[in-house]
Amino acid sequence: MIASAFFFKATLLFYLLGTTFFLLHLWGRERPGAAGSNAAADGRWSRLFAIGATAAGFLCHTAALATRIHAVGDVLFADRHEALSFVSWAMVLVFLCIEMRRRLHILGSFILPLAFLSLVSASALPNEVRNLNRTLKSTWLGVHTTLSLLGIVAFALAFVSGLMYLTQERLLKAKRFGPLYDKMPSLDLLDQWNAMAILTGFPLFTLGIIAGALWSQYAVGALWAIDDPKQILAIGVWLFYLMTLHGRVTIGWRAKRAARLAVAGFFGVMLIFLTLS
């Protein structure tokens, strides 16, 4: 456990650094597509530091999760600390993958603060290896939590692309062409990300809920506990994203409306975390 705690603290520190530099990067003036090597240096340096810190943090984070799983003995993510830490880890993983392929650094300025906040919330929660009731322990619980959390990560990415869409849309409408405007990808790309994220997240979340129901049947004897606010919220969130997807396909809820829906939906997702046991 000591190793895990150490890695966890190192991760926090690195993500704090990454977040700080990525936020600085928001304001750093840097022109894309410059031929010369003498592009404004401030933007570039904050960016390099930010990516370096994020990558280092990700390695520590992986180590922290691995040592913890090793100590606990299974992959559960059943308490809020583990769940939030996993969500944060997966978001950074996705960011690093996109960063490597597309070099869209500005994405980090939006994802990293979210991943950092998620990890800070995790660190504020009790972090001890709990002793789950034997009856509660089952493969279905692991499947349920993992799938649901992956779905939530996808919703978080939809939230980030929605937020970026609304920001850039506002800049375009207000005709303000600052450093942030320069660095943002096109509205079309952000809308595509939004669609892709929800299209990926929704099936995962659905399967997660089904696995949860099955586990509940096995452990508690009922598919569904009507008095559990977490379950009610989860169903509400599920319905919301179903509506979002349906609206996009049938009546053209895309672009700005889709961005707003993705942002709104994520607040529901965050509420789920508040109700987690």
Partner: protein
Amino acid sequence: MPAQRTPTQDDHKGCPYDQISMNVLLVGLNYRTAPVAIRERLAISEERLGEALYRLTADPAIEEGFILSTCNRVEVCAVARETTAGFAALQRFLLATAPNLPADQALPCLYFYMGGESLRHLLRVASGLDSLVIGEPQILGQVKEAFEAALRHKTTGILLNKVMRQTLSTAKRVRTETQIATHAVSISSAAVTLAKKIFGELQGRVALLIGAGEMAELAARHLVSQRIASLVITNRNYERAVDLAQALGGTPAPFEDLIARMVESDIVICSAGAPHYLIGVAEVARVVAARENRPIFFIDISVPRNIDPAINTLDNVFLYDIDDLKIAVEGNVRLREVEALKAEAIISEEAERLSRWLKSLDTVPMIVALRDRAEEIRSAEVEKALGKIGGLTPEQKAALDGVTTAIVNKLLHHPLTVLKAEAASANGNMILEAARRLFQLQEIPTPDGPGFLEADADIPDRRPPSRR
């Protein structure tokens, strides 16, 4: 260096540039010094360029000549043996270009540069630093064409050829080493950049052009070059739309179909020239609903505006008028100004290098350099010989010195005579350059001497006050 080789020094007594054997002079006018009414009369069209080049170099005061004439400037650059006569010849040449233009109207528009200043000016012009839009790329091509024309008509010689080649390579260096030409500063390229911020790549997008104005056509051409899927052109005068569609490779559409066409289009460029709004909020709201929230980008370059500015408040509608586009390029214009400072540094460096080369062609320092070099070799060899033989009496040493000096002087006598005599002839520059190369006289022996380009500060400058 007291060699006064110019016979007519009475005109400008004591002016140091009269000591110069060759000078690069430049007389010209541009959009800052002359209104278009004068520029267009002094402009030399492509067909008349050959004749003009001959007329320029036919003047006995002019050795080599080069003319650059664009819609924004006329620059006449020449090599003259004598500065005063050279300037007078250039002025005469320009006035003769527009015989009906009174001299008192034309003369205040002209600027006069010589030596290092003229080189610097040429480099700045070719690099786009002197252009209306800083860093614009066309000027480099125009300079290149002008130089090729001069080469074709054989009016440039060894000096101007070197100067022009250096000018072209400097302009290229400025473009690769600074970001002076990187970002959009024209209205139509700004429209394309904005469209890319909304739609990403423009391949597969549909554009609609309303009206057939020149600006709209320019913007449409930019879009077509981005490989958009199709361009629809509509105009109240349908025939005009058909013509323009043919020219741009688009499809014409009747003006009544405007709303239906807008529904299909991602980018709408409006330059209709109507006295009132053609497109209002109600129409666009319907279009957006029919497009199922797909963003649509309106560019209104008509003055007065033809699209109600209130449509910008509708979701997924982006409206830019001509002023907005100007704001969009303003940041880039500022960036170019910053980059221009870097470019000026490069130009100073290159102009300095050119000046040094020109200076190395000056006869007197060349003769001094040649003598120095020979003397250097001679004395070194004598020293070596003395070291080997050893034990010579002072008389013997003096004899050795005398013999070697005589050999060197005999050997150099004829080359130096020819250099002195021919420097002023028509082939002078070639002979000077040949001597410089044969004897490897790269370095100028007296860089701080009262040479030829340092005299710039004393030039009676006739630059108009409006020039920056």
